[in-house]
Symmetry: C2
């Protein structure tokens, strides 16, 4: 039997056929074009699923279940509660998709789904509990408890990016101040760098972007830090201090087997995670006791499809 995983993004719908070793055996994708009626978007999920199945030489009879990772929240009945980027609110995703493929359908948050993928097929494989942090434009979270995604009682759990880390701090797009994602996202490292380069227009970061601060991204800063550029190092230290505090907060709260760092910033690799591991003991309460391992995500883009496919498995 196989599982279908759907990674629904603001730009693309990516669908994969996933085997029981949690490998993608065939894929198909199309544009989301999210301004059209949701029924059409969902029909295209089914079209892509059929294409991918055909590539794999399989039919609906071979499918155990379908999972969909969405950039938003869903309830346990497979309804999308909301999905801001798509403009979706109260969408009966399961019911609509089952018109085309009559199989069990599960819907989950994309960061949760990525955390689930890591816990079955990635770095946290074998861990009973883990917390996944996606360090991208914002910060998302995926909580796995006893091998199952934890979505909260109202489906709004694991919004780790919107926990307050600096009360009264930086303005967040959510309306709050001091949200964790204002200090630990790619956006945060860029903000910190833009601030730092003002007084250091000749630093390595500015050389990398030919003097155009608007071209600074997380990689520019981390590469400069790797090269020991003082401004790069300063921003990197500031950023990783906050990231270590975020890891501390996860550990003090849940004490999982593992904290997994994923998303664009995590592509900086061991250089990043080493700094975080070195700094977490500065914050942790019980410094002399064992606590969660902190590791880099092992999967990249494929986590979306694999994790979505796993929603059905985790519900078994």
């Amino acid at each position: 039997m196989v599982y279908i995983g759907v990674d629904l993004g603001g730009t693309n719908i990516a669908v994969g056929v996933v085997n029981e070793n949690w490998e993608i055996v065939a894929e198909a994708s199309t544009k989301t074009l999210h301004t059209r009626p949701y029924q059409e978007v969902i029909r295209d999920m089914a079209v892509c699923a059929d294409k991918a199945l055909q590539k794999a030489g399989l039919t609906h009879n071979d499918v155990k279940s379908i999972g969909i990772g969405i950039p938003g929240c869903a309830d346990e009945d497979g309804n999308v509660i909301f999905c801001t980027n798509l403009g979706w609110k109260d969408i009966p995703l399961r019911t609509e998709l089952q018109k085309y493929i009559n199989k069990p359908v599960y819907v989950g948050n994309d960061a949760t789904v990525a955390g689930l993928a890591e816990s079955y097929a990635g770095v946290s494989k074998g861990c009973s509990s883990s917390v996944f942090l996606t360090l991208g434009t914002g910060v998302g979270g995926g909580i796995i408890i006893d091998g199952k995604p934890w979505n909260g009682v109202h489906g709004v759990a694991s919004e780790l990016g919107h926990m307050i880390l600096v009360a009264g701090g930086e303005q967040c797009s959510c309306g709050n101040r001091g949200c964790l994602e204002r200090y630990t996202s790619a956006t945060a490292i860029i903000r910190m760098a833009k601030e730092a380069v003002k007084e250091n227009p000749d630093c390595a970061i500015m050389k990398k972007v030919n003097g155009d601060a608007d071209r600074i991204n997380a990689k520019t800063v981390i590469d400069a830090a790797k090269e020991n550029d003082p401004v790069g190092v300063k921003v990197f230290e500031q950023y990783t201090d906050y990231l270590a505090m975020a890891c501390n907060n996860v550990i003090q709260f849940l004490d999982p087997d593992m904290v997994v760092l994923g998303g664009g910033v995590s592509y900086a690799g061991e250089f990043l995670v080493d700094a975080v591991r070195r700094k977490v003991p500065n914050y942790i309460l019980n410094k002399n006791l064992p606590y969660s391992e902190i590791k880099l995500a092992a999967l990249r883009n494929e986590a979306g499809i694999i994790g979505a496919a796993l929603l059905g498995r985790a519900a078994e």
Copy 2:
């Protein structure tokens, strides 16, 4: 059958016989005298258990299990990892106690145990998940997931008081800065009040303590706020802002059925929890979706014994 609950504190050992309706039917207590060898402290737990059983007209044969709530951390094998106030580290509590009463023995953190008591016999009864916050000298946490206490993989979870809420903020006794308990404990409200009265020596708070700021406690401040004293109101607003942020962080992370406020500060009653409920929407990400209820703890001192007794029940 009955359960024995032991509330081990720095000053007293309180032991109760708890029936299957989670009512204390008999009690006995003695001084902890924690500087003596741990074997003697544990022997006195057994002595108190026997006294309480005798009062109830019962014997060891009627006991299903024994639970002990400690102001520290324990592992799953009933060993105390550490218990700072008692100066205990790596103490084989289960093994030692079973020398006197050969029944299953469970050991848990005191805040976790209080949360468990609420979830079986108190305000969160019937909730599958809840997070309990004790607002005392410090801030402790008790996490209940699927009716069971969540202690984390290494036994160090639910240290909610030491999550960072104000990065770089007030110095905490743990060595960190900006811990949640520096802003939401009784100690915090006293600190805020002492600061505020400096410029307002004639305020109601100072009248209540006859001009001696060292006598200010949480009740003084909250009573002044209830009376509409401007300084009392100002401090109360500041404190409840932070408490609402703390509730927000719990909700964004775990989205439990209920957040329960317990401990000394919570004795301020509905006046406190109303303010928190009013302020949580200022911070919550999904303001228009349902989220955790916020309620006052229903049990007081008896939560320690009842919750400890429940450790055995929750492990069934």
